[in-house]
Symmetry: C2
Subunit: 273 residues, 2 copies
């Protein structure tokens, strides 16, 4: 899936959205490849300067949604430009868990296609104005948490990936050798959707390939711990957990600050001969 | 070991020690119980106000040492008053690994004695001027990392414990039911001194007793990852790791900020009728 005929239309959807003290600027971004048309969401801090470090965000099983807008806003308020890529394709937005599960299954079974769409999202993000191409962290939730690790396994040249309650299994653990990004896996210690053997295999993959990796386990947290819409009943296997949400956001902040610090900026004189 | 005949002598050893921008004030504190005499180290931020939140620090296998002074200074520079308690007793400072191992073995085999000395350290800390008795986090390194979890298992009424590369095993996992403190275990993912089954048992103890717990695994890190004196050869099983050191310090900071925020201060009017 080479994005040979790609073009982009930016539609200003929301000039300024205020959440508390900070404000952000939000745009829908339509992009294409031979695989079809996609619709992502680009969020800038309201007082954005040029050449900002970026957060590539990969949505959960429901596609780009209100939940995505909430998380993207939260990160843009920190001073990052955020691009929520669209893996499913424009208009493909499941409305039931059944539909979502089916879609997730498709990409989990076809990692090549998953990676192509992740890479397309990354390239599209890099083509946006005001983004520092050399300072990008990818974050993802559940399905997207699997996605960002797949992006790293594809050899993407980004600074880091953060998986929030993502599936960590891999049909090809040898692909760990391609990982250049630092990896942070944020995991609910009681998440029934991540099997113990998959967690162990993930650790082994990271270890064998000497990846710069970290894993955080949040006690009493199950799947979807960042998502208020998941309710509060751990017995269902997926539930919001205010502590794990706040802690994982701090962990993201520390990680992004560290891996995006210093280094070569994409607009540095050295890159503009 | 009731501290019935306890008295304290504070010896001003170092009025002001400057490390970079911040400065601290350091004192040796001698204290006693029926078990003998102990000598801890009390470190205040140079510009200390009264009623500061406190960090109780439990030393590694070498006792209160230069390494302890370094770590205590680092935390006092954040604005905490730090008390490095003495578990071994005054003058008991091993000079070889063999001596240290023997001492560690004694306390690991006699958890009751270990807990008594941990509790004595905590009581001594609470009796110092300028400490907010109701805002205390205990941190420990290696042997001390085991110690702070034992302190929590003893039912200590403190806000949190942080174990840096500590042994996590327990001869009495049912004591997890006594834990009131939030628990943060910071662990080198390749630490050969913490067996996989002990790590699993620790997680199970936390889970069963619904402790507020978190575990962080730092990839490529072995035992002693915070200690520069441990060298840099992972093959020995203990080595300094700059990334894991910096990351674990950030994790400590986030945790302490969270668990010490708000709540009842020991000098609040409600406590002074």
């Amino acid at each position: 899936m080479k994005p040979i005929k790609r073009w982009m239309i930016s539609l200003v959807v929301c000039v300024c959205s205020t959440f508390g003290m900070a404000a952000v600027r939000m745009e829908n971004v339509e992009y294409q490849s031979s695989a079809g048309t996609f619709e992502g969401l680009l969020v800038y801090p309201a007082d954005a300067e040029t050449n900002l470090p970026g957060v590539l965000m990969i949505h959960n099983w429901m596609g780009v949604s209100e939940e995505t807008r909430t998380q993207a806003t939260r990160m843009a308020e920190l001073g990052y430009v955020v691009f929520a890529a669209d893996i499913y394709g424009k208009g493909v937005r499941p409305t039931t868990a059944e539909e979502a599960l089916k879609l997730v299954g498709t990409y989990r079974a076809d990692r090549k296609r998953f990676r192509e769409r992740l890479q397309l999202g990354l390239e599209t993000f890099r083509a946006q104005p005001g983004v520092d191409k050399n300072k990008i962290v990818a974050v993802g939730y559940c399905f997207g948490g699997t996605g960002v690790i797949e992006l790293a396994r594809s050899g993407a040249d980004i600074q880091g990936v953060v998986s929030f309650h993502g599936g960590l299994d891999s049909p090809a653990p040898e692909d760990g050798r391609n990982i250049k990004a630092s990896v942070l896996a944020l995991h609910g210690a009681d998440d029934p959707h991540v099997k113990a053997e998959d967690l162990a295999a993930f650790e082994e993959e990271m270890r064998v390939h000497k990846v710069d990796w970290q894993l955080v386990k949040y006690g009493n947290a199950v799947h979807s711990f960042t998502e208020k819409g998941a309710g509060d009943d751990n017995a269902t296997g997926a539930a919001y957990n205010a502590k794990a949400d706040a802690r994982s956001f701090e962990d993201f902040k520390d990680f992004a600050r560290e891996v995006l610090a210093g280094g070569q900026s994409s607009e540095s004189p050295a890159q503009k001969p």
